[in-house]
């Protein structure tokens, strides 16, 4: 049995309170970190092999190393709690149930890169999350973990919370910075990366909160311990959000490298109604779907890539045989078309055309050309958009056609769906 690390506190009563956190060893890592030099900490995070949990999987220690050195420059940490990737609900649970673990990670990260201010950006819909963040930060100030001269170390850090207001794209780091500056959340062109020119043009370390939650454990238990969990290129624990046709949807913290099969059948209780599995989205809506025959894949960056998908946010959506794959692709593409910030044409127009094509097929009005048109549109969008959104939004359509082309053809030839008739209907 894997012993939870990031979620070890969340089932305790009042787990969100600072007293609970302190009673179970909380903030010990900050004390330890403040006795080390910033360079030692950066080195530890590098050695741990920790990679970003926000979707891109970039090595955290390398990013810390990109932050310019020196005390003369004002630097920031930006904390990404925007969590909008459909299927993902791990960050909401972390902030609602154990915000201090993240604050502790933020303090250590800020000290290591020499940042004097941390800005939390939280999805506007997370009302309880906002309240929990505000209270946790206020308590951390009161106990001397934030503010001036933290624990007598001479290190100062201020931290504040900023609510987003309903825009998926604001989870993208540069769009988030624009939004923090009070603007429309249009992504910026990279480079420069936020570590060079971020918030208000100053060096900014951006992290997802699950990434930050790993930091205290790396400091306390050592990078070698962290790196002993997982696979060759994927280290540490990961929170997998599991939803869809499973008996026990929920967040499951497991070591990276656990198989998709184990997650679905052992942890999430198998498929509802004992039905057969059809497909799985392994890392959130923007990652290519896998078929039932691929579920022995270990959930790790490198193995999922080899299987033609990505780890993404680690959000697993399980689809059983009653699922229409045309409808699945249509619904997810509709989401991305709606959430395109509209700034660049391939994303704005391309996503809309892709959605319309899938919608035609789904509603029985498509022609055989439409399938190739969808593939062509996806090719035209991927890789040429202003931000990574383009490469993400084509995945549902492209992977559904790749794995389930006959189902698209059936819709077109028979003007109705092979499976939709058996869809669960609980209303009306």
């Amino acid at each position: 049995m894997f012993e939870p690390i990031l979620t070890r506190n969340i089932h305790r009563p009042n787990s969100e309170k600072i007293a609970t956190y302190l009673a179970h060893g909380g903030y010990a890592a900050v004390k330890l970190a403040l006795t080390k030099t910033p360079d030692e900490l950066i080195e530890m995070v590098k050695r741990s092999g920790l990679r970003g949990r926000g979707g891109a999987g970039f090595p955290a220690g390398v990013k810390w190393g990109y932050m310019p050195k020196g005390a003369g420059i004002q630097k920031f940490v930006a904390v990404n709690t925007d969590e909008g990737e459909p299927g993902t609900f791990k960050d909401r649970e972390i902030v609602e149930r154990d915000p201090h673990q993240v604050i502790e990670g933020v303090i250590i990260a800020a000290y290591a890169v020499g940042a004097s201010r941390a800005y939390v950006y939280i999805r506007g819909e997370f009302f309880l999350g906002v309240k929990r963040w505000i209270k946790a930060i206020a308590d951390a100030y009161e106990y001397g973990f934030l503010g001036r001269n933290i624990l007598g170390s001479g290190f100062d850090l201020d931290m504040s919370v900023h609510r987003g207001a309903g825009a998926y794209i604001c989870g993208e780091e540069t769009a988030m910075l624009e939004s923090l500056e009070g603007k429309r959340g249009n992504p910026r062109l990279k480079p420069p990366y936020p570590a060079q020119a971020g918030l208000f043009g100053l060096p900014t370390l951006v992290h997802n909160i699950e990434t930050l939650a790993c930091i205290p454990h790396i400091v306390e238990r050592g990078p070698e311990w962290f790196a002993s969990i997982g696979t060759a290129e994927s280290k540490g624990p990961k929170i997998f959000s599991v939803s869809g046709h499973v008996n026990r949807p929920g967040n499951y913290e497991l070591p990276l490298g656990v198989t998709l099969r184990e997650i679905i059948y052992e942890h999430a209780g198998g498929i509802r109604g004992g039905r057969e599995l059809k497909a799985v989205i392994p890392g959130g809506a923007s990652t290519p779907m896998l078929t039932a025959s691929q579920i022995d894949v270990p959930m790790a960056y490198e193995t999922l890539k080899a299987a033609g998908s990505e780890l993404g946010t680690g959000a697993i959506v399980v689809l059983d045989v009653t699922t229409c794959m045309v409808e699945t692709a249509r619904r997810l593409t509709k989401f991305f078309a709606h959430e395109s910030c509209g700034r660049c044409t391939p994303c704005r127009i391309g996503s809309q055309r892709l959605y319309e094509t899938l919608d035609r097929i789904e509603s029985g009005k498509g022609t055989m050309d439409d399938i190739d048109r969808a593939v062509e549109l996806a090719r035209g969008i991927d890789g040429i958009t202003f931000c990574p959104m383009g490469a993400m939004l084509v995945n549902p359509a492209r992977s559904a056609i790749q794995h389930f082309r006959p189902e698209f053809e059936y819709h077109i030839l028979n003007k109705h769906c092979l499976v939709c008739k058996s869809k669960e209907r609980n209303y009306g």
């Binding site: 299927g87 506007g124 997370f126 609510r163 009070g182 869809g244 989401f335 209303y427």
Partner: protein, 150 residues
Amino acid sequence: MRNPQSAIENPKSRAMLLAALYIAQEQYGWLNPEAIRRVADRLNLTEGQVRSTASFYTLFKLEPQGRYRIQVCEGLSCYLVGGAEPMMDFISKKLKIKPGETTPDGKFTLEVVECLAACDLAPALKVNDELYGQMTAEKIDALLEELRNV
């Protein structure tokens, strides 16, 4: 009176815009022209800048809203377990309004929303800031009844 078209942007006050819009919306119920004007004045921005920014974000409302905003998730995970459109149709019939509309008495606004990051509680919906999970026809009936009577 300063000329609103010649406002010079100050990054520090500009950064307060989203927070200011939340406060204004709380006060007025929606971002009516007066709310927009007041926010613009306070932050030394043009009304155009304020409206353009507000219109980017779905949580900022540029139209009047009902007292209870019922937000039905149409995300994939909710759809898979019987939520999304069927649930929306069910509520729509009960309230006799379509998504995007407000009941004539101003009590309910019906809205489609994206994944609420509550897929473990699917099918999910929100009423104002409150999340309701694992919805069934019975639970929705009870919820609407309760809201009607408050």
